[in-house]
Point group: C2
């Protein structure tokens, strides 16, 4: 085994962000019309090139912050996309990330930065450039997988929320309805979900109890919870 390299191994490295958000109770991604070549005018994910003095993770966060003005956003690497001809006329390896944006709280900032960026429901996407559709498909699968086992929902919920709100969110992401009583039973077993005692009267006559999420201190080997974390399906 030998190692050698030359300019033949130098290539552009990019990041692309699949930014999920909720809009009108639909799961959406942030897209925009490219204002430059290649594929000017077509629909694209948000992306950019990685600079030599920043990590790939930082580049993804920079792209997201530049567009939304937000910094404390959940981001997760999805993987590298490295087909030779994924872009026409140049070789670009792209690392995709998915992000979760709490739209209802923050949509002002999103709209203000880029007039070209819009929320599009994932089930009615326009044709996209390059392999961006494939990236979204993978991100959606990853989101559905991860939200089942980790506290991702709370990235999409406001500080305080009703159980109905939380359930609707799951239903929107999964694409099918859940049983109300079973759902509340499982949430009831999660020690991180705390009843604030407050009531939200805006959504119904009766009013709904508002809950909040408090991250648990990471368990030490001695202080380990005896229950298995329950999943929502």
């Amino acid at each position: 085994m030998q190692e050698y390299y030359s300019d033949n191994s130098m290539m552009l490295v990019a990041v692309d962000c699949i930014i999920f958000g909720l809009k009108d109770n639909r799961l959406c991604v942030l897209l925009y019309r490219r204002g430059f070549e290649p594929c000017k005018g077509e629909w694209s994910l948000l992306g950019g090139f990685v600079n030599k003095n920043e990590s790939v993770d930082s580049a993804a966060r920079r792209v997201l912050t530049t567009l939304t003005g937000l910094n404390d956003v959940y981001m997760q690497q999805l993987g590298a996309f490295g087909a030779v001809n994924r872009e026409p006329d140049r070789r670009v390896v792209s690392v995709a990330y998915y992000a979760l944006l709490n739209v209802s709280e923050r949509n002002t900032s999103v709209g203000s930065v880029s007039d070209n960026a819009v929320w599009v429901a994932v089930d009615s996407l326009p044709p996209l450039v390059f392999d961006h559709q494939e990236m979204i498909d993978m991100a959606l699968a990853a989101l559905r997988r991860d939200i089942k086992a980790t506290p991702l929902v709370f990235e999409l919920l406001p500080e305080m929320f009703s159980l109905t709100h939380m359930q609707t969110l799951y239903e929107t992401i999964y694409g099918y309805p859940l049983d109300k009583r079973n759902f509340r039973k499982r949430v009831g077993t999660m020690p991180e979900v705390i009843d604030t005692g407050l009531i939200d009267k805006t959504g119904s006559r009766r009013g709904a109890r508002l809950f909040t999420y408090r991250k648990q201190s990471p368990p030490t080997p001695e202080n380990r919870p005896s229950h298995k974390p329950s999943t929502i399906s």
Copy 2:
């Protein structure tokens, strides 16, 4: 949002392979001593640079084939590693892959290609260059996660195997023992695992029944199995 780039976004793109195998009933990875700078003489994963005329996936496969002489090996992308200073003195973004190699059947080919490559148990690794230890940690977590839900075990088993052999393999990878009767009960529900009727007399006085794995034809929407696939934990 603007896009621009220059040589400031051109960088080396590499692949690194975490090649798992079984040796003396221990889970091992293939390492080798670097024969070139940087870090000549230190322990490293197998890797190489991606050429402009090959996809990242192809580069990973080429590296693996060059070293082992094998082509039909299970490989899976783990993700991109993109810290600025993960290598000294140059910027390299690396995409890591993990691979499963059936050592007992194929160790001849592995040894013959590179004298410097050796199997090292994952629980007694030497210090490694760059972020290779982190890559192995992530690959191991991914392997343990994936082997629970997908037919990955069979990539590490020979054509025919006893149930004890299969169970030992799971125990080696998980790092803890499994209940024999529960294990055999679950394997018994897998239609892909077929009793060949043959007996292996080499491992015991009594002899063990040999099984084999037959991939099921992918279920069509009509011809769907009614049972959930069972997991091994």
